[in-house]
Symmetry: C2
Subunit: 418 residues, 2 copies
């Protein structure tokens, strides 16, 4: 069987299984999720032995130690996957929710029922725990899932899938509802992206290169998460202590994630007092500042920002800082350089707060809070499968509901149209 | 300037104008919509003179009279466009709606604000009134719109766009917010479908060929509406008079539209009594029946259904009829042959009604009502821009809200993440 036939056969099976998963009761779904949690612990030795094959191959290939760390299914990582499964089992089931039911003049009653999307294709890099986290969310939302992880994690991903599939089988659910593509060749991704007949949505997670490749080659709708270039604008009326706290938290707490702060914009009437205050705290935290000329006049230790430092995702202890004339210039800078991820204003001006909330074009727009709050857990969605910077279907953190859609349902008693 | 440069330049301008339209007040949007309604009447002579150029070209090319009818901007069609503009002006503005606001344990208040999608690309055939209807809905939802109608309507579409753009200019809104692509070459569509930087959503309206072409060549998300192969299943417990009324209404009232009935499924215990009853009414209405062997045993006048009559969109006074063993077989038939448009059960069995509502996979699933109700106006959405059979973003009739998305907004008072 050719590579292409293998992928197509597997996707067809998942589509078939997805119809059964769509109609499972909440109790059945939660039962199998809890069984999976138990199975990860029971079969830890098997999982870690398979993981060791990937780690050995990685070491032989000279992978950086940070990469090997991300690949390792340590006891701690397995415990976090177990906790994730328990958490998803505890979330409310979105499938079957009915709302907006209204009686229409014709006499029919119309509303919307939440239903699964069908089959989700996840394409991701490195961390094998995504295999379990994504499978759990897709299953709870009533979907089948086809997973395509990185080639360096193939043994780990297949082992995890085997454990999950055995749990499905034990509960008399078609194991094909969760599949890992067993082929590491990139052509398998290309095949997957053309199977619009069997796959309803593609979610890529990984570097910008992967996401662009998927977006450009997919015939299936893609919910993409490009980079997070988050700004904080410190307005004229800001509380400086609060602003400094929000800047430090955004930049320092976890600089390597997409909701970390990358560019600070400071109102020119604020700069003389605020920049030295926050500059000292940033220096203490080991943050390198790349500033505009006005910033450097106030913070002599700052480096000069290069043109491409605006709109750059540093993912490191580096912060671009620019002094702007007013809210208009701040909004224009964000429009030119933002990534539609997270934008924050620190202000005590009511009208500015409202205008920023309306006009800043990002999946999350905040007043007086850290960029780091842009997260499914923090927003109350439960576990998240990613943060969409695409406006269609879901914009921002994607939880269970974002893995579903709604159909119209109609209750009549014989109505016809005249 | 090359064709490609023209299309790109035009899309770039619309993107720029869309930022302004996104922030217009409801009053401003309604004002310009009402001005457009008045302008269509004032400038009717100009519009009809340009329309006459298309009609003359169509006659010279030997277009069928039905096609010429669809192309004509008669007084009646202009009046319907005027009424459409007034109707859209009267609809509630979805932009700025805030809901799901909740206080989180961290102290931040999080909710969702409805915002425009950005720029919508409409690709459609024939009827030039779509130009006005679509422009009005996109504008009211705060979007820019790029319209690409059929080549046979090019003069009419450009004239209508000119009238609408003059109204925008008179209200000091960038006219580029509404554009008609002035190039009839199909390459212009190809260029449009690659402009993901400027266009956020493509909505094709027209024949299956056009929609497939767009879906296969677009890098931009597409909300497609393939065919409507709608089924009615008459269950064992159905009220036969009600079922006959629903069948006749679905098939006969307007056979050429996508929510018309195409296949009737009849429970085998119902067939002996129900089929002669409905068969007589269908014959009176001039409907040709293509039946399975069991149907033909009861209705000797029926033709034999060919295998490809199942799942076929006749758009004509033809009905496929099949006798099935039970609800399971009806659901399996719909799964195999349905088009995810509209599916109806006629039943008096509570459990069957609930199961059909849950399990039939279509954008609208109904109990005891005509397929013809699947319509934005009938469902209370106001005017509709199409009926999506894609599950992502919008499934079913698309009104103003479906031309928007939601972003997260956060009100804090200095919260940081720990």
């Amino acid at each position: 069987m050719s590579m292409e036939e293998t992928v197509i056969g597997l996707a067809r099976e998942t589509k078939r299984a997805s119809r059964r998963v769509a109609n499972l009761s909440t109790t059945a779904k939660n039962g199998v999720l809890r069984r999976m949690a138990a199975a990860l612990i029971e079969r830890k030795a098997y999982i870690q032995a398979e993981n060791e094959k990937d780690l050995a191959a990685g070491r032989a290939k000279g992978l950086a130690s940070a990469m090997l760390d991300r690949l390792a299914l340590s006891d701690k990582v397995i415990a976090s996957m177990v906790a994730g499964l328990e958490e998803v089992a505890a979330l409310p089931d979105p499938v079957g929710e009915i709302d907006e039911m209204v009686r229409r003049p014709s006499g029919i009653t119309v509303g919307r029922m939440r239903i699964p999307l069908g089959v989700i294709g996840m394409i991701y890099e490195s961390r094998p725990n995504v295999t379990v986290d994504a499978a759990a969310l897709c299953l709870k939302a009533g979907n089948g899932v086809i997973l395509r992880g990185g080639s360096e994690a193939i043994h780990s991903n297949l082992a995890l899938a085997k454990v999950l599939q055995d749990c499905l089988a034990a509960e008399k659910i078609e194991p094909a509802a969760i599949q890992v593509i067993p082929i590491t060749d990139r052509e398998a991704v290309n095949t997957m992206l053309r199977l619009e007949e069997y796959i309803d949505l593609i979610i890529p997670r990984g570097g910008e290169g992967l996401i662009r490749f998927v977006a450009e080659n997919s015939r299936i709708p893609v919910l993409k998460h490009y980079k997070g270039v988050c700004h904080v604008f410190v307005d004229e009326s800001a509380d400086y202590e609060m602003a400094a706290r929000i800047v430090i938290n955004g930049k320092v707490q976890r600089p390597g994630v997409c909701n970390a702060l990358e560019t600070l914009l400071v109102h020119e009437k604020t700069a003389a007092e605020f920049l030295p205050l926050v500059g000292a705290q940033l220096a203490t935290a080991g943050v390198e500042i790349r500033g505009c000329p006005a910033t450097r006049a106030l913070l002599p230790a700052a480096k000069a920002a290069a043109p491409d430092d605006w709109g750059r995702e540093f993912l490191d202890l580096i912060l671009a800082v620019k002094v702007v004339a007013d809210l208009d210039e701040a909004l224009a800078h964000i429009e030119a350089h933002g990534s539609q991820h997270t934008e924050v204003i620190v202000t005590n001006d009511y009208a500015h707060a409202q205008r920023f909330l309306r006009e800043a074009d990002a999946s999350s727009v905040m007043v007086n809070a850290s960029t780091r709050f842009n997260d499914g857990g923090q927003f109350g969605l439960g576990a998240e499968i990613g943060i969409s910077t695409t406006k269609l279907h879901a914009y921002g953190p994607m939880g269970l509901r974002e893995l579903t859609t709604r159909k119209f349902i109609v209750y009549g008693d014989g109505q016809i149209r005249s």
